[in-house]
Amino acid sequence: MSDIRIDMTQADTGEAGFSDYVALLKPRVMSLVVFTALVGLLVAPGALHPVEALAAIIFIALGAGASGALNMWWDADIDQVMKRTSRRPIPAGKVAPQEAMALGVALSGIAVIMLWLATNALAGFLLAFTIFFYAVIYSMWLKRATPQNIVIGGAAGAFPPMIGWVAVTGSISLEACLMFMLIFMWTPPHFWALALFMKSDYHKARVPMLTVTHGRKATRAHILVYTLALFPFALAAGFTSIGGPLYLALALGLNLVFLQGAWAIWRRGEAQAEADAYAVEKRVFRFSLAYLFVHFGAILAEAALANFARYAEFAQHFKILEVF
């Protein structure tokens, strides 16, 4: 009897449950992708059939999940070394690396082809490019090669609202580019604020994070520079067809607070940060999450408010960059 029990215990480690495959798709990242893609899709001029819109969101999310699986396959060696990621399905021994790769490739193909069929070829191409960018350009190349990995890799996370927009319109416009830039420029200060207070073991995994290669003082300066660079893009969106007075007011306030936080991070040294357990860095990181959510929420609110004739008429005065 005891022999059987031993065999069964060994079998436990080798067979994945359904939730392990779901974990491979990085569901938390997918939730952000779903939200931003949905905003892009809802505010775009024109309309999709509700079923087409639902399919578009599902397949954009599936594409993001597929790139997550490919990332976990390629980074299994790094994940094994780092404490934060050591319990992921591959390093935990629940899913074989080749199985994760096969799942990633298969889901990528399904997501791209189905998005193409459900909407249009450009949306399908952009999703394919996003998966390629995240899995190959970021995971395989930049992540281990340069401390600017977060900056360029952030593009992968910035594509979903553009894909949502293109799914409806079939073309890339200024609005789609500004939604892209909003996430693209937001990613570095968001992640570097986290890197400052998370005592991560990237050095053990030989990943060149800015905090390790250039030091924490340089990272603080980088946060300030990128937060400054983010400001004009966030405001510019307010003057296009997706913006309006509500968005502009919120964007102005949020960017000033973000900038004030980045300034505070830049001004203080390590000793000061350690004395209050990185209180400012943690506050800015939490704020940055709200920053992105409120910006996209405001874009959505502007689209909803456009149904009210008097507000729409008033908002029209602000849309000086509207080209349609």
């Binding site: 939730s19 059939h49 087409e52 599902i58």
Partner: protein, 66 residues
């Protein structure tokens, strides 16, 4: 008494199979819904076999001119 012992492994396999079944049924439902939406919308259909094609009509004016 059952002759086989239920193990945690069996529950995991069963969960995986049920999960996959739900995903596949959902996918079929979505493709079916998409088909209905595309057909009823009609905008992106080629409708190659379902429209009047002058090139196949011997009574069409273009044929009579030849």
């Amino acid at each position: 008494m059952a002759i086989t012992r239920e193990h945690e492994l069996h529950k995991r396999r069963s969960g995986r199979n049920i999960g996959l079944a739900i995903v596949l049924v959902g996918f079929i439902g979505l493709v079916f819904g998409l088909t209905i939406a595309k057909v009823s919308g009609g905008s992106t259909l080629q409708a190659f076999d379902h429209t009047y094609r002058p090139s196949l009509d011997p009574d069409h004016v273009r044929f009579q001119q030849r």
